[in-house]
């Protein structure tokens, strides 16, 4: 107090004298008025030159707030914070001491000068003080303020925690650690006394009407920071329960409660105090803060959920609570733009690259559909977000096949899609169903969501409104027709590899697909399955034909197909040895007699043959593809063949035959003794590991993996064949060309009415095949004709 007094008397000599002298009251009113004015000038300069600089001298710190907050985690930074905390406390305390002194002096002076409106002078003093302080604001004062409130919040939070959770809990976890509030050893916890100090300081700032001006910014920043932290700590990665209610409770119980304490330090225990005159202003402040902070919570929580939405998709439906939360946030804040952008990029990063297999992309796509549907029933977000996935899947050649497989595959447990299909709640054919649906459901109609490009809206909403997941998946490929034709290929492959007469699973699948897509598109498949059933009857009839049975050398059964209704076969074939061909002749004859005016064309490469090979003293029982059977059959009479001779005999191109040979080589029965010469190994080799394998049980799969049907790329190449003469012409004239040029030039022809569209990749496949066939040479990035 002495220092204050001496400082004061130094800066305000006249005032000091006036206060000391009691004669002042005797002066005339004019003189008094004059002296009074002079004294105010003195007070003003005292406040400006002494009070404010002293106050700010405690705020020496030179880091930016953001950096300061970032470093906040380290023990050192924490220590620093407590130091700055003390600085601030001291600054406010000394400021208050000066202030109180000036205030008392002013009171006295007012008394001496017989001023009645002391309140007015006080207001003038406060204003003087505020403007002096704020005009000398140092750059990084916020750090100190921030430190103070940071510690203050921590102390408050710590005390709040220990009252709400009970002391035991705290002790167990924190043994050996410093107190979370005051950073002292637990036994010497200072929290209560710190709280006392904090409350005093806040009260002083309120009295000086400085709280908001000085601390508002730091406090807002601090509180926002704590909200973010809290959301991260309590909600991150947890989607199976709702967090919003807890977050809002936390905001109310901790943050708002703390702010109340800051603004009403004296009266925190007394709830009625808020309604007293002094309280009402800060209550308003807190109310408006609360509204802002509530939005802040919604926004930040929503953003955190959106950032994690990929995980939410993967966890669906367990993640429904998180989606529900996000929906509530979306009602408060327009978040569509963020949702769309974030989702799009996270889906692209996670699933749209070559390393992910098509089935996984498809699974991700279906999961995304389900989760996003749940979030936004309008379908607008869904359509926008999944467009890149659809586009990507369309480019992958095995997509349709994967869709069909997962639609119908039930062996390895039901997939999402097969489950959807089994639900059977068919969306009836095309638009008609949609219209009905929409009309009958008009009561639940909702306007299309606002906030997106109109173009997106009008294009998408109609198609997606009542489309179910299956339709969305089929939609990847553009048309049901294309999808169904791919299903037909798949079915054909399955029937021809299974080669059994009871394809019950396929019949069941077909029934499901018919419910879903209507009978007309699946008519071909229906005939295919009927062919299987008919074949069974025909076979048993032929097997009871005594004339046939008495003559046959071995059992033949056959799938007899209505070729018009099946996809076309690839062009592979094999010439059967005469004895075997005769057997088929007999079978055909029996068929002709049974069916009258009808006969059979054999598809010789397709099927399976049970054979028994006597080799030395071994007997091998195997089931092999017809081509393998034919090959080994020919080695009976001649135990060495050149590739070319055998190729001519069985009418299989050498390159293909070589691959088929590999089967017997792998069984150690045939070796390539010299290039192009194949030799039967009649004598048992020294105990090879091959023999230890249960060879007679092996059902060879080598060829089963290859489709008997013409593949889509085969068909593509056939289409491109029309360009072959153009390509030859080009290369004759220009010698060599890179693929880009060839593509460009062909597109020119194509646009002139050849009507075949193709990508550069299609062209590349085609040209590479020509290279393999030795029609072209590819080197140094250009194609040339083979000379």
């Amino acid at each position: 107090m002495e220092i204050v007094w001496s400082d004061f008397s130094e800066s305000c000599p006249i005032l000091k004298e006036c206060l000391d002298s009691s004669d002042l009251a005797k002066e005339t009113e004019d003189t008094l008025e004059y002296i009074y004015e002079v004294l105010w000038i003195e007070i003003g300069s005292f406040v400006r030159s002494k009070l404010a600089p002293t106050f700010w001298s405690c705020f020496k710190h030179n880091q930016t707030l953001a950096k300061f907050e970032k470093d906040g985690g380290s023990a050192e930074a924490l220590q620093q914070q407590y130091k700055l905390f003390t600085n601030f406390v001291n600054a406010v305390k000394s400021l208050d001491a000066y202030y109180q002194f000036v205030r008392t002096s002013l009171e006295k002076l007012d008394g001496i000068c017989q001023r009645a409106d002391h309140g007015k002078s006080l207001a003038k003093l406060n204003e003087l003080l505020r403007s002096a302080l704020l005009s000398q604001l140092p750059t990084h004062f916020n750090n100190v303020v921030y430190s103070f409130y940071s510690v203050s919040f921590r102390v408050f939070f710590n005390l709040h925690q220990s009252t709400s959770m009970g002391q035991d809990n705290e002790d167990l976890d924190e043994s050996g650690m410093p107190c979370k509030g005051c950073n002292q050893e637990l036994e010497k916890c200072q929290c209560q006394s710190l709280l006392q100090t904090i409350n005093e300081v806040n009260q002083k700032l309120v009295d000086l009407e400085l709280l908001d001006r000085l601390a508002g910014q730091s406090m807002t920043f601090l509180v926002q920071q704590r909200i973010k932290e809290h959301i991260k700590n309590t909600c991150h990665g947890i989607f199976d329960r709702s967090h919003l209610k807890n977050l809002l409770t936390w905001l109310e119980d901790v943050v708002i409660c703390w702010l109340m304490q800051v603004f009403h330090s004296k009266v925190s225990a007394d709830p009625d105090a808020m309604h007293t005159d002094d309280g009402s202003k800060s209550t308003d402040v807190i109310q408006s803060l609360k509204v802002k902070l509530t939005f802040y919570v919604y926004e930040n929580y929503a953003l955190s959920v959106i950032d994690q939405f990929f995980s939410i998709i993967i966890d669906f439906p367990d993640s429904i609570p998180a989606i529900e939360d996000l929906k509530i946030c979306m009602e408060k804040i327009n978040l569509r733009r963020q949702i769309i952008n974030t989702l799009k990029s996270s889906l692209e990063a996670r699933i749209l690259h070559p390393g992910v297999n098509t089935m996984d992309i498809l699974t991700g796509y279906v999961a995304a559909i389900k989760a996003i549907r749940y979030l936004d029933s309008s379908g607008v977000i869904l359509e926008t977000v999944t467009a890149p996935i659809k586009e990507y899947l369309r480019k992958r050649s095995d997509t349709v096949r994967c869709v069909v497989t997962s639609l119908t595959e039930t062996e390895s447990g039901p997939t999402d899609l097969s489950e959807e299909l089994a639900k059977g709640d068919a969306v009836k054919d095309g638009t008609k169903g949609n219209v009905n649906d929409e009309l009958s459901n008009w009561e639940n109609w909702q306007p299309d969501p606002f906030g997106l490009d109109n173009t997106v809206q009008t294009r998408t909403v109609k198609t997606s409104r009542s489309a179910d997941i299956i339709s969305m998946v089929v939609d990847i490929y553009g048309s049901k027709e294309l999808f169904m034709s791919e299903y037909r290929n798949l079915l054909a492959d399955r029937l021809l590899t299974q080669l059994e007469f009871n394809p019950e699973k396929e019949i069941r699948n077909l029934e499901l697909l018919k419910l879903r897509f209507g009978e007309s598109l699946l008519h071909n498949c229906e005939v295919m399955l009927k062919d299987i059933a008919d074949s069974k009857r025909i076979n048993s009839h032929i097997h009871s034909d005594t004339k046939y049975v008495e003559n046959k050398q071995f059992d033949i059964s056959s799938l007899i197909i209505s070729a018009q209704f099946w996809p076309s076969f690839n062009k592979e074939s094999v010439e059967l040895p005469e004895e075997i061909a005769n057997e088929f002749q007999k079978y055909t004859k029996s068929y002709e007699e049974y069916k009258g005016n009808r006969t059979l064309n054999w598809r010789t490469v397709t099927g399976k043959v049970a054979i028994s090979i006597e080799l030395g003293d071994r007997v091998l029982d195997m089931t092999v593809a017809p081509t393998q059977a034919v090959i080994i059959y020919h080695f009976q009479n001649k135990n060495e063949w050149s590739l070319d001779d055998l190729s001519t005999l069985v009418k299989i191109p050498p390159s293909v035959l070589r691959r088929r040979m590999a089967f017997w080589q792998s069984h150690g029965i045939i070796i390539e003794s010299q290039p192009g010469i194949y030799k039967l190994i009649e004598d048992e080799l020294p105990k090879s590991q091959l023999e230890k394998l249960p060879i007679n049980e092996i059902i060879t799969e080598d060829e089963d993996n290859e489709s008997a049907m013409a593949s889509a790329s085969d068909q593509r190449e056939e289409e491109l064949q029309v360009f072959w003469s153009y390509i030859v012409g080009m290369l004759t004239n220009l010698d060599s060309l890179p693929i880009e040029r060839i593509h460009q030039m062909l597109k020119l022809f194509a646009s002139n009415g050849l009507g075949v569209e193709f990508t550069q990749d299609d062209l590349k496949d085609f040209l590479q095949r020509k290279v393999r066939d030795h029609k072209l040479i590819y080197s140094g990035g250009v194609y040339q004709l083979a000379k």
């Binding site: 009927k530 033949i556 009808r598 059979l600 099927g607 006597e614 029982d621």
Partner: protein, 85 residues
Amino acid sequence: MKVTIKSWMGVASWRWIANDENCGICRMSFESTCPECALPGDNCPLVWGVCTHCFHMHCIVKWLNLQTMNKQCPMCRQAWKFNFH
């Protein structure tokens, strides 16, 4: 070495033994169906006339029913007579 074939499961497609590929009336392949039918073969058989022309049975029957006066083969205009072999 001796190779014995024990059984052979094969695949064949059936076709009509006819001197043409398509039905002269509906222009569809014989192995396909007439416009009225869904299932081929037994359910939509072929018939032959003594003139040796053949059609989907349903097609020629419909054709003949439309002919009020003399029933002729639509291909050769000879009087139509079924040839049951």
